[in-house]
Symmetry: C2
Subunit: 450 residues, 2 copies
Amino acid sequence: MGTGGTGGQAGGTGAAPLRIGIAGLGTVGAGLVKLLRGNAAIVGARAGRPVVVTSVAARDRTRDRGIDLDGVTWHDDALALAHDPDVDVVVELIGGAEGIARRLVTEALRAGRPVVTANKALIAVHGAELAALAEQAGVPLMFEAAVAGGIPAIKTVREGLAADRLNRVGGILNGTCNYIMTAMRESGRAFADVLAEAQALGYAEADPSTDVDGIDAAHKLAILAGLAFGRPVAFSSVHVEGIRGIDALDLAFAQTLGYRIKLLGLARRREDGIEARVHPCLVPEKMPIAQVDGVFNAVLVEGAFVGRLMLEGRGAGEGPTATAVAADLIDIARGNAVPVWGRSTDGLTQVEALPRTAFHEEYYLRLQVHDRPGVIADVTAVLRDHGVSLRSMLQHGRAADDSGGADEPSVPLVLVTHRTQESAMMAALARIAALPAVIGEPAMIRIEAG
Amino acid sequence: MGTGGTGGQAGGTGAAPLRIGIAGLGTVGAGLVKLLRGNAAIVGARAGRPVVVTSVAARDRTRDRGIDLDGVTWHDDALALAHDPDVDVVVELIGGAEGIARRLVTEALRAGRPVVTANKALIAVHGAELAALAEQAGVPLMFEAAVAGGIPAIKTVREGLAADRLNRVGGILNGTCNYIMTAMRESGRAFADVLAEAQALGYAEADPSTDVDGIDAAHKLAILAGLAFGRPVAFSSVHVEGIRGIDALDLAFAQTLGYRIKLLGLARRREDGIEARVHPCLVPEKMPIAQVDGVFNAVLVEGAFVGRLMLEGRGAGEGPTATAVAADLIDIARGNAVPVWGRSTDGLTQVEALPRTAFHEEYYLRLQVHDRPGVIADVTAVLRDHGVSLRSMLQHGRAADDSGGADEPSVPLVLVTHRTQESAMMAALARIAALPAVIGEPAMIRIEAG
């Protein structure tokens, strides 16, 4: 019959342990050791056998990580884990799309060793190649922790919804950006100010670019899109914008218009291809995702049969991420595995996402304009020329302490368009920016109406 | 090494099909046939081999179900599926904890045949016994569709969070009740009125008891609790209250106090045992679950490492439920399986949930009282005598068209208590109900503060 076994039902404490080698003992690595030890009875029962850490590799032997590593083999070279005879599964927690992380995962798979990783960059950039390697070696490559931390987003998309034709996937995939924009909205403070605070609190890195420029969210989106649509999406083709350009003014205007601003990753199946993009969005405040604030993440999935699902939880941190890694280890201990992209890599080619010019959205525009007659007529004439139709307009009166040009006062002008092709919007915006009455670069934020 | 295979990675259209026998061709059964055919390419690729319906069993051969059953073997007796040589997996969609559904699942497992079911009553009531049977036979028994329809709640709790120590699980588990209470709140109409409308729209059954009396939600909660805590919870020990007693007045008062009323299933791990209960709750309107309206379901899980997760989606209907059944079939096709309660049944005993008297909650009380001096003093004296401390009180002025006793006017009096033992609350309420100034039965609704 060949319909499979019972997933280690017969297993127990008498069964041979699954021996883990961990590369990278940062927050997540140390958290994983704590979880596997603190919850050893639960993990052992669920896995059908003990799951034990036998080897680790990290740079600094002296650092106090709050874990006892007595009896655990220490490697200075992470690559040694790929061949350590006491290791059944390699857990890669070093990070980065290239370098040692990539070499370790490649070498472990080549050595026929299952790999669990939390490395979103690696899977997003090299997932196609690594999937083929895993399949050749006949071993699982798992990465639940790479997307949305404690939310089992990968399992949901790749297994829970495996039977459905998924049309959309995405969500709030970066907790740092969500924290910053929530704080900006609540306090009215500027981006740089809130970023500095987030850095002080440990919610943002010293070099925040990966987060605030949208790269981290784009890695996660590329992975989710690949899983949802059953083939890897070329990471370089994902359109990415971060949140540095969001002004406190935009958050306030959005609220006036009944929206919140969220950095969303969105992938969509269209007749002519796949859209995959990360950028700030105006989201109607009644949508559940608009209410997901602070460091929380939310994953949205929409399928032809299942309708719309939302999963909300902690997207990062020691505990949630360690839980995700350990869940993968339990699956491996049970002998359960799923191909990297949900199906055999045989004949599976990477797909390029559609270019930005093909997007078709509603747009929020904010211009700073000289407060003189005819400005609105000029701006709306450009939009008309490019076939962009307006849905609403908001002009705030001039404040007393207004600071515009040296001698001429200026005001913000907010326009909301109907759905239009982004190529038309781009052409119109270039002309609007060149109007004599328009000061600086116009701000453009897409609207995600649901 | 024994760390498992590659989950059917090598599979493809050339591999032997997984042959399905479906018992019960109602909405879900017909939906499953449509899904497996409409998404045959997706399902085949994900499963590593074709998944085909070879046999069905249903009562009425003549009914038009919108599906073509040519070439499919028809059994009048569902039990025949347990031994049909052309069936690899039995899908039980008949329903009910006893009778033919139970006999079919039992017989199929005894015959060494994997079973997928959407039958929450069966798993909630007989899950312990069926888990042992499945383990003896060495075949999977899967039931993702039994809880929260299209939301992969079972996979999330049993696999995605397998490594964590879960402390709470529950949520909005019955879409019919949530629809009725949403409509009551939005329209101010009475329960009976909205129920009749829901029945006309097909959102409620002709006999709505299983839904509105909380039984359906209790079945799902018992299953979730069993998975979260790693051992089956005796269904008969789950405390169940439905929504028949909810008055439009309560929905309005709740809103005034900053709450919504939801029928929640809640299970909690305590030092002295497990709480498992289904009843209406006042939920602070800022909590995400308070915003889940209409027929939508939401599942909440809380773990020591992962923190809090919420999953929201369609809890019923042809498409979502069929998606869940098909996901189980794909797991079986790949050879992936998990023990029924997440661990071996060896030494696993069923646990009784704590009795109602052990609950420890905040309470909302609504009394109809004669509008005379001293009533509040009498009521609060009783609460004080039982050690119940008050947090707030709400008394609405008497309306002009007030209808109280024959000659004496009456008004509603709303009290909100601090957290207290339910045994004390029950004793106090019995005495309050007996006060001469109190008319009818007091309404008591627990508050779920998060």
